[in-house]
C-alpha cells in the first residue's frame, strides 16, 4: 500500500559499471573467455582444414601458427580458457546436487571430481595426439 512519492532518487548506471568493483570486472573477464573459446573453434577448424588438405598444407599451417602474433593470441586465449576452467569448475557444484546412497556429496568433492576428469581427459588427448 505504500505509494511511491515519485520523488525518489534513482542512481544512474555507468556504461562501464563493471569497472566499479573488482568482482564485477572479474565477472566480465569470465564472460569474455567465451570469445576465446570461439577463437579456438576457428583455429581448430583451420587446423582440420589444413590436415585435410595434405601434408604441405599442414606444414604451412604450423609455420603460420608459429608466427608471433598467432602465438601471443593463443597464449592470451589459453589464459582466458584457464580462467573459464577455474570459474566453471568452481561454480559447478552450485548447480548440481549429487547424491550417493541418500547422502549429498559435499561441494569440494564435486569440484575435485571435475578436476580429476579434466586431468584424465587431457592426458588421453595428449596421448592420442602425441602417441
Amino acid at each position: 500500500m505504500t505509494a511511491s512519492t515519485g520523488r525518489s532518487y534513482r542512481r544512474p548506471i555507468a556504461l562501464f559499471w563493471w569497472l566499479s568493483r573488482r568482482s564485477y570486472l572479474l565477472f566480465v573477464l569470465r564472460e569474455l573467455s567465451a570469445v576465446f573459446v570461439a577463437w579456438f573453434v576457428v583455429y581448430l577448424l583451420l587446423l582440420v582444414n589444413a590436415i585435410g588438405d595434405g601434408a604441405p598444407s599442414y606444414a604451412r599451417f604450423v609455420d603460420w601458427s608459429g608466427s608471433s602474433w598467432v602465438l601471443v593470441l593463443n597464449l592470451i586465449a589459453l589464459a582466458f580458457v584457464l580462467l573459464h576452467v577455474v570459474t566453471w569448475f568452481g561454480l559447478a557444484p552450485r548447480a548440481m546436487v549429487v547424491r550417493l546412497r541418500g547422502h549429498r556429496i559435499p561441494p569440494p568433492q564435486i569440484v575435485a571430481a571435475h578436476y580429476l576428469a579434466w586431468l584424465l581427459l587431457s592426458a588421453i588427448v595428449a596421448w592420442v595426439v602425441l602417441r
Partner: protein
C-alpha cells in the same frame, strides 16, 4: 586506537536535493560499535534529521542494509573498528530508488514476492487433526538453507543484472521459490515453473554470483537459481521428448 572516526553519510532530502550529497560526522570509535551504532549516535546527539531503518540490531530483521565503503552489508553487523582509521562511507543500498537519506524503496520486491507463490501449495490439505506431515531431518536439510532469507535485499543490491533489468525477479525471490519447491510437503513446483522460467525469471541471471557473496545468511541464491536452471531445462527436454505426460 583513535577515539573518533569519520562517517561520510549520503543525504537525500527530496524536498531540497535533486541528488544525494555527502555529509561528514565524527563519531566515537568504540569496541563493539557497529556502523549502526555510529548512525544512531549521529541521530541522537548530532543531527536528528538523518533517516535510516533499523530494528533488531542482531542481524535478523533485515531492515538495516546499507552500502558501506561500496559493499552492501547489514549495518548492525558491520563494525566500525574494521574500518579504522576511516573515513567510512555510508550510502543507501544500490539498485533501489532512494526515498530519503539511507532509506530505499523495496516495493518492487514486495510486489514480485507473491508471484512466485512462497507458501505451501498442496492438492489436498490434510486436516490438522491428523497430525504433522512427516519430514525427516534429511528432507528438512534439503531446503533449510533457502529458508534462511531475511529479505534484507543485499543480494539485489549486489546483482548487476537487477540494476540493468528491473523486471528481473531477482535472487531472494527465486531462492524462496526454491525453498518451497524443495520442501517435501509442497506440491506447487509445477505452478511456480511458469513464472520462474520466464525471461524475467532464472534465465535473466547470468550467474554473476555477487548475490551469494553479499548474503549475510548464507542462503546462496546464486546456487538456488543455478540449480533451478538445471531443473527447468531438464523439464523442458522431458516435455519435448514426451509431450503428452503432464509432469
Amino acid at each position: 586506537m583513535a577515539d573518533e572516526i569519520t562517517l561520510e553519510v549520503a543525504r537525500y532530502r527530496p524536498e531540497v536535493d535533486s541528488s544525494p550529497v555527502m555529509q561528514s560526522y565524527q563519531v566515537p570509535l568504540r569496541e563493539h560499535w557497529a556502523v549502526l551504532d555510529g548512525l544512531t549516535y549521529i541521530k541522537d546527539q548530532l543531527d536528528g534529521t538523518l533517516s535510516f531503518r533499523w530494528s533488531c540490531r542482531m542481524g535478523i530483521c533485515g531492515s538495516c542494509g546499507m552500502t558501506v565503503n561500496g559493499e552492501p552489508v547489514l549495518s548492525c553487523a558491520t563494525f566500525l573498528t574494521d574500518y579504522a582509521p576511516g573515513p567510512v562511507r555510508v550510502e543507501p543500498l544500490h539498485n533501489f530508488p532512494v526515498i530519503r537519506d539511507l532509506v530505499i524503496d523495496i516495493e518492487d520486491f514486495m510486489a514480485k514476492l507473491p508471484t512466485v507463490k512462497p507458501w505451501i501449495v498442496r492438492d489436498v490439505q490434510s486436516p490438522v487433526e491428523q497430525g504433522e506431515y512427516l519430514q525427516t531431518p534429511e528432507e528438512l536439510e534439503e531446503y533449510q538453507q533457502y529458508s534462511m532469507c531475511i529479505n534484507c535485499m543485499l543480494c539485489y543490491s549486489a546483482c548487476p543484472v537487477y540494476a540493468l533489468e528491473p523486471e528481473f525477479i531477482g535472487p531472494a525471490a527465486i531462492a524462496l521459490a526454491q525453498r518451497y519447491n524443495l520442501d517435501s510437503r509442497d506440491e506447487g513446483a509445477a505452478e511456480r515453473l511458469e513464472v520462474l522460467s520466464s525471461p524475467e525469471g532464472i534465465w535473466a541471471c547470468t550467474f554473476v554470483g555477487e548475490c551469494s557473496a553479499a548474503c549475510p545468511k548464507g542462503v546462496d541464491p546464486a546456487g538456488a537459481i543455478q540449480r533451478y536452471k538445471l531443473t527447468a531445462a531438464t523439464q523442458t527436454v522431458k516435455n519435448l521428448l514426451m509431450p503428452r505426460s503432464k509432469r
